[in-house]
Symmetry: C2
């Protein structure tokens, strides 16, 4: 029985976020205004998002300083540990070394506060009083609720209706932190009412909830903005604090990862762990593999297409250049709610297009099996999202054994699964399925979405 | 907005537990064999508990070394932070400084693994294959399930039936870590069957669950032992790792607590934070106040009587000298499941009798109000048990303000409340009550229990 965790002191914490756009050989293409088909202006974006966040969205500076107050609040739980998973290695009988970065130690239980806190900070600084957002699995909504507490901001969260029912604790957590949670689709927005008119029993999805949150924020007035927990450049930027720490910690461990793995929904935890390692590939000629892991039921990178698509179901957001299954794609009800999103952000999509990152799709049952193996060996219940990264770490370790080679693996444990235990119950009861998709299903979702985009 | 957390490095972690018995002016009286009325022998105890644990139970050595393997496993989440609660101080507008030790960062979410791990370790080392235990709120059961995973021990947990229903996530957590959870009272033991015969609808309580777990362990054979998460001397001993760390951390902070506060159920987290500070009172002439906080609905220290009583409902355990409401006392269904126990352990009882520690009873609604204040200012959802310590920290801070004096407060946050959010839901819905007791109710419970003890 061995265990080793690598901890930074607070004085070793990063003081800047890393903006990978500065080092990309091909910059991401700009978001387009759906009305004009032209690149959207910063001014137009500022009606939706906080000003400083929009500036970051368009920035090409390599490093952006983390405001002192954000650094201060990060210290509530940061720096987070990097752990050598000796017990998992032993369980797999592998020559590979496995490390994980544990982002599940935040008060909200996931990496989401890394961006929730700066988003609340910048909005509050600008004088904004109200924020609206949406949440699927509830990780983002609860992180944002936590952050809004620190800055006395009122928060309204549109939560996918089926998640409200399946994850009552997540809703309670948001309530405990003072947020107003509205099951989506709701009758509080036109987008919600339209959906309900067509299907009164609609269980909701992230695309609809985004539409509702954006509409609600725009309707509420000048002191209100919208905020988002993934996909956007500024969100990915804030999450790089994960990888910046991990770089220093791997150095402490005297080790060098051959492969860095993150689960992939909209890209926030993946970018967080991956981009600082990619910087070394792009600027120092290193060759670290950086792997995004998506569910087989939502395989936008491995089986989607690259085109300009909406970020939401109703088509209210700017159009973004992305690998997507189409904004009309309706993912099946897998338990990794945070990975059920139809598209990848523009930076990750461009990196993937340029062959600078890898992607793998994993079936749900394999991810839960890997999650249990991890829980039983390392003693931490992983979030269903994070089990995707674990599953690929396990595959890599098994391959190292088969090939008889040494290998160093680092994955990001994006969150703990304490509030997701109902999912494990269903897994134990044999009620979960992989939710894999046929080529025809994917083709249809993409065609339908393209049709809508082209006829806008 | 400020935050400051004091972290030890792993090399600064304590390597020995502190046994307060060595320094007590009056040693605790011995447990008695209920059959003979004479002090129970170590040999008799060894039929129930692991050998090394029994040795520790009777030890008068001041320090007991923490085995290397236990130190290793502690490092999975230890050392835990001491945090200066600046935001809570500001919310209270108090001149007092408030610090808390955060034991909610363990994989099980509470301080319980501090003793679960050594208990599993010593039993495994002795060749034991199976363990039986009970759990009320589920914190202890899940910690023990975690610990048993590390040492390949099979675990059976008798979980109070009403908790199984109220806290399904706790049960799932134990299942995820491989434990067999049986709702108590059950038909797997004579103790359980007797209770069910008298009342088939019985919701269970900790006393009954202990009876079932002890009976089950004794019946199962030579490779099986029983284990307990509080009350006993060896359990309190293991928890002193909390206070030993906190001593060093307060030194780092350059501060000296005037008062150290822990919630009080069977005494484990209270002793954990308090005993190392008491050592300085006993051996160095310091005068730190050490305060145990119990619920008004289970006020064994503040309103119980000191006599030899059973640890369980069925009267299967040795008789212990303790402040107790009587083993027949049935606490009301407050949400701090870990504090719903009729008696205090023999060490804490002796210390209280000798005026070396203080005790306060707090009503449930005040504790939840304090818990919400803490959640909203410090961003951590506290376990319902821990809200008792917070409530008294708040009282102390308010008193400092009224009196216009400087004061330094340290409390133990024994666990986080992520899996206890249903309790907050009930609090929000106005469904909780204080559960305070009349003098007559207490008198009757004590008299009934004494009658049973005397007629054994």
């Amino acid at each position: 029985m061995r265990t080793k965790k690598y901890m930074l002191s607070e004085s070793q914490m990063p003081t800047a976020w890393y903006n990978i756009v500065a080092d990309m050989p091909n910059k991401p293409q700009p978001p387009l205004d759906p009305k004009t088909g032209k690149p959207i202006t910063e001014e137009a974006m500022c009606r939706i998002f906080g000003e400083e966040l929009v500036r970051q969205e368009f920035s090409t500076e390599r490093y952006i300083e983390i405001p002192e107050q954000v650094q201060e609040l990060y210290k509530i739980w940061r720096p987070t540990p990097v752990v050598r998973a000796y017990n998992l290695e032993r369980a797999l009988d592998t020559p590979a070394k496995i490390y994980f970065k544990n982002e599940g130690t935040s008060p909200a239980g996931s990496h989401k506060p890394n961006t929730a806190i700066p988003q609340a900070y910048y909005n509050a600084k600008q004088g904004i009083k109200y924020l609206a957002t949406e949440t699927g699995g509830g990780q983002w909504g609860s992180a944002m609720a936590l952050a809004c507490q620190y800055f006395n901001l009122d928060l309204r969260v549109y939560m996918v209706k089926v998640s409200c029912q399946q994850k009552p604790y997540r809703k309670l957590l948001m309530n405990a932190w003072g947020a107003n949670v509205i099951p989506s689709p709701s009758d509080t927005t036109k987008a919600g009412r339209d959906v309900l008119a067509a299907d009164p029993e609609c269980a909701g999805n992230l695309g609809i909830a985004i539409s509702e949150a954006v509409e609600s924020a725009l309707a509420h007035g000048e002191d209100t903005r919208y905020c988002l927990g993934s996909v956007m450049n500024h969100v990915l930027l804030h999450q790089t604090v994960i990888g910046e720490e991990a770089l220093r910690q791997m150095e402490m461990a005297g080790d060098e990862p051959d492969v860095v793995i993150g689960c992939f929904g909209g890209g926030s935890n993946f970018a967080g762990i991956g981009f600082p390692f990619l910087r070394r590939n792009l600027t120092e000629g290193k060759k670290t593999r950086v792997v995004a892991v998506e569910p087989e039921s939502c395989p936008k990178l491995t089986r989607g297409e690259f085109f300009y698509d909406y970020g939401d179901t109703a088509g209210m957001t700017p159009m973004m250049p992305m690998y997507t299954l189409g904004h009309k794609f309706q993912p099946t009800a897998i338990h990794a709610g945070g990975l059920r999103y139809h598209g990848a952000g523009s930076i990750v999509s461009q990196l993937y297009k340029d062959g600078l990152i890898e992607a793998v799709a994993v079936p749900q049952l394999e991810t839960f099996a890997a999650g249990m193996l991890f829980a039983n060996s390392e003693g931490i219940i992983p979030a269903p999202e994070s089990t995707h990264a674990i599953a690929v770490a396990v595959r890599e370790a098994q391959r190292a054994k088969e090939e008889g080679v040494q290998k160093t693996i680092l994955f990001n444990l994006s969150g703990n699964g304490m509030i997701d235990l109902y999912a494990y119950e269903q897994y134990f009861a044999g009620k979960l399925q992989d939710g894999s998709l046929s080529d025809e299903e994917i083709r249809q979702a993409i065609e339908n979405s393209k049709l809508r985009v082209n006829n806008r």
